[in-house]
Amino acid sequence: MMKSTLGRRNASQADTVAKRSSNQRFLLWIDGVGGFLTLLGERIVVGQPSAEGAVDLPIRADLSRRHCIIRREQEGYVLEPVQALSNREIRIDAQRIEGPTRLADGNVIDLGQGVKIKFSQPHALSATARLVMVSHHKTQPTADAVLLMSDTCILGPNSHCHVPCKAWQRDVVLYRRDDDLICRTQGPLEIDSQATDGHATIGRNARIEGEDFAIRLESL
């Protein structure tokens, strides 16, 4: 009895994981700030862009199709090389890693072949992480940074925001409830040109506008 419940829970967990890792991606276009590849999945496959689209975070670089996996575990992240590669070694802060390794704020991940990514978790109260290319390589599609979005993602004028938007007056928070994405801010807010009371569920291609900002989601 116990076992079966457990088994069912595992199965449902696996389902969610599968669902989230496949296709839970969108681009966050913010006027005057940048474009951000946002990944909702708990398990992110990093690799070369491929036609099959099985890669969550494709980087236009000389990498393997499935180069490594970044997993969200509780409040932290673990980097896991996909297989032992004789000629491709992965390093974190210049330390070569053999197996799954926990990532810390400020780590620089070296995927080999000159591909370097900086990992950070800017906000203390959110598990959402940010990846920024340190080397000249670009993601596919091109983005200024990658957001591994946990429950919330904060856009705002402060440096600890996941997306710092210097010119803004106040924060805009995106958060997840079940499978919905909700946007919240103080002050006027329009979703797809419909005025709301500063708190609304948004679609995967929504246009969000406020007093001094304009954001659009583009699902991938």
Binding site: D31, G32, M133, T142, W168, P188, G210, F213, R216
Partner: protein, 658 residues
């Protein structure tokens, strides 16, 4: 869309940091391209990041000022190809008849952002990499007959380690923001060569800008900084950059690139770059994304407000050349003094030594100065008479020099003219505004009741008397060594009394005239009468107190007129009357009692009064230094004692006015 790009706040100013764009993400104003996001805004319009239907990432520049001539410059550059230039792909029109420039999207950070992150200067190797990249791109432009005209760190980008120069071929506005966003096309005065003021746009201006950027990369600061547009422009025109902080060969290169005279600069980019060390291998560093690196949108409110400096210069260049040269020289000395890195105490000591030296050798230089002034006065009068004739005879107006090379020279000339117009209008507006609040303040002064005025006057008179005591003591202390005698108490008393009465003589009529515009003639006549009265009083008082006023020859000659001495050598009444009468008639004394004067105690006004007193003494003998001391004392105690409206109150008034 109700929240559109031109949204303004209630105050009518654009919202601080408004990041709103005309075309939202996802729209397709231009056939074949999808807008992804707005990147920045410049004087010409907006820049977007977009993608073609085929998946090519591009930057889309929307040219709102839809002038054919403006696009001509871009069109001429459309087929230029160089790895260090941002590639231009095409010019297109949309349904609204707006023009778009489709160009290469550069994702890296700008040199501006890099300099901002290195406030103490960048690494030498990086400086050289950027410098060589920029030089290659600019040399290519020059080789194709194009002058960039707006080289500045905000226009220089890096893409995967390659330096990319942007914004070439666009007609330029000139504004004063030092740092503007990556996509800003408004020029900044910090990189503007001096000859631009005269409408000269040769390739030398690019070399000048490169010199400034080299300096800025090495030190983290532009060589000429200032509070206002005018200040920075004036420095470009007259000041020398502080090259002491640079080492060789950079010092020589910057010095030559920044020569005021374009003929003295490097003749070509290659000549300039040949003097620098070779660029180390590797590309320019690509920095990780940080918020500061994001393209910033210029605060358009500020920009618009401060458009264009050129006017200030062109007006001033019509000035009398000798006076200008003297003033420039003085300014140079001032800035040299200000930048002299010495302890404040040492500086003061130096100043005192110089002054003592000047006093000690006054016999040598005073006659020379006096003759020079006389000659200048004659020259000035002749010039004043001749110059209207010259102007009438059709001296060509100052216009932009004929196009040397590069596209749309006439556009730039037009721009400058337009900008000058804006500036003139703005200044006029400002003047009007200043006048209106000034006038209003004047009215309040006039409207003051007689009782208030009397109360104020008696207060001021009392103050003047109080101020006269310490001033006379200080002056006597300084005067005694010059005379070579000991100080007598009667002298101090006499000085204090005459000074006090003199100040009263200025303050009494000034109070009556306060806040009114009056006829100078009448006022001067009144002052003449007051001066004569003071002269008589001073003479009488001298007799009464039996003051001896020994004359020191250090301060001037015997005067042009004789008969001023009694048989025993003491001065008669005549020199007193002549000296004070003329002193009061020649200067507009009421100005230093005006409550709306610029500063309460102006050293300049005081020096001016003393200088005139000295000049007078050359014509009418009066025992010196007593005459000079009195002139200085009347000026100082009047200013100290007269009411003065502080600037804060005036500003308050001004704001209330607006």
């Amino acid at each position: 869309m109700s929240l559109n790009a031109t949204k303004v706040s209630e105050e009518g100013k654009p919202l601080a940091g408004a990041t709103k764009f005309t075309h939202p993400s996802g729209s397709r104003p231009l056939d074949g391209y999808t807008i992804k996001r707005g990147v920045g805004r410049g004087g010409f319009g907006e820049v977007y990041f977009g993608e073609s239907d085929g998946g090519k990432e591009v930057a889309l520049k929307l040219i709102r000022r839809n002038l054919e001539v403006e696009l001509r410059g871009v069109r001429e550059c459309l087929n230029l190809k160089h790895p260090n230039l941002v590639g231009l792909y095409d010019i297109k029109s949309d349904d609204m008849d707006d023009r778009w420039v489709v160009m290469e999207y550069v994702s890296g950070e700008s040199l501006e952002a890099l300099i901002d992150r290195h406030p103490d200067g960048m690494l030498r190797d990086d400086v050289l990499r950027w410098m060589h990249g920029m030089a290659a791109g600019v040399a290519y432009l020059h080789d194709h007959g194009v002058v960039h005209r707006d080289l500045k760190p905000g226009n220089i980008l890096s893409d995967e380690g390659t330096v990319k120069i942007g914004d070439y071929g666009l007609a330029k506005f000139i504004s004063c923001s030092r740092r503007s966003g990556q996509t800003e096309s408004i020029g900044t005065i910090h990189y503007m060569a001096p000859e631009i003021a005269n409408g000269r746009y040769g390739r030398e201006i690019d070399i000048y800008a490169l010199g400034i950027m080299l300096y800025e990369m090495l030190t983290g600061n532009v060589p000429f900084e200032g509070e206002s547009v005018g200040e920075v422009l004036m420095k470009h025109l007259t000041a020398e950059p502080d090259l002491g902080v640079l080492d060789e060969p950079y010092r020589t290169v910057v010095a030559r690139a920044m020569a005021k005279d374009p003929e003295k600069r490097f003749r070509s980019i290659s000549e300039m770059i040949a003097q620098l060390p070779n660029a180390p291998a590797g590309g320019v560093a690509r920095a990780a994304y940080t918020p500061a690196d994001g393209p910033r949108v210029a605060d358009s409110a500020d920009e618009q407000d401060q458009v264009v400096p050129a006017v200030a210069i062109s007006e001033e260049t019509d000035e009398e050349p000798v006076a200008q040269a003297v003033r420039d020289g003085w300014r140079n000395i001032q800035s040299w003094w200000a930048e002299l890195k010495l302890h404040a105490g040492v500086k003061t000591l130096l100043l005192v030594l110089v002054i003592l030296g000047l006093i000690g050798f006054s016999e040598a230089w005073v006659p020379v100065l006096f003759s020079a002034l006389l000659i200048y006065a004659v020259y000035w009068v002749v010039r004043a008479m001749v110059s209207p004739v010259m102007k009438a005879s059709g001296k060509p107006p100052r216009v932009a020099s004929p196009p040397v090379n590069g596209p749309s020279q006439e556009v730039v000339a037009q721009r400058i003219e337009a900008a000058q117009f804006v500036e003139r209008r703005r200044q006029r507006g400002k003047h009007r505004r200043r006048h209106s609040w000034r006038d209003e303040l004047r009215t309040t002064l006039v409207e003051k009741s007689v009782r208030d005025k009397l109360a104020e006057l008696t207060g001021s008179m009392l103050l003047a008397a109080l101020a006269a005591v310490p001033l006379s003591i200080v002056m006597c202390i300084f005067a005694t060594p010059a005379l070579g005698t000991t100080l007598q108490i009667e002298q101090a008393i006499w000085i204090a009394l005459v000074g006090t009465v003199g100040a009263w003589a200025v303050m009494l009529p000034s109070k009556r005239w306060e806040g009114r515009h009056g006829d100078d003639g009448v006022r001067r006549f009144t002052m003449l009468v007051a001066g004569l009265a003071i002269g008589a009083m001073a003479c009488g008082l001298a007799g009464l107190l039996m003051v001896e006023l020994p004359d020191s020859n250090d301060f001037g000659g015997q005067g042009l007129l004789s008969g001023f001495h009694a048989a025993d050598g003491t001065p008669t009444m005549l020199p007193y009357l002549a000296y004070f009468g003329f002193l009061f008639v020649i200067l507009r004394w009421w100005r230093i009692a005006d409550p709306l004067r610029t500063v309460r105690l102006s050293l300049w006004s005081t020096v001016w009064c003393v200088a005139w007193a000295w000049l007078l003494a050359q014509l009418w003998w009066f025992p010196q230094p007593w005459g000079l001391m009195l002139a200085g004392m009347i000026a100082m105690s009047t200013q100290l004692a007269s009411p003065w409206i502080p600037h804060e109150e005036r500003i308050g008034k001004q704001e209330a006015d607006e």
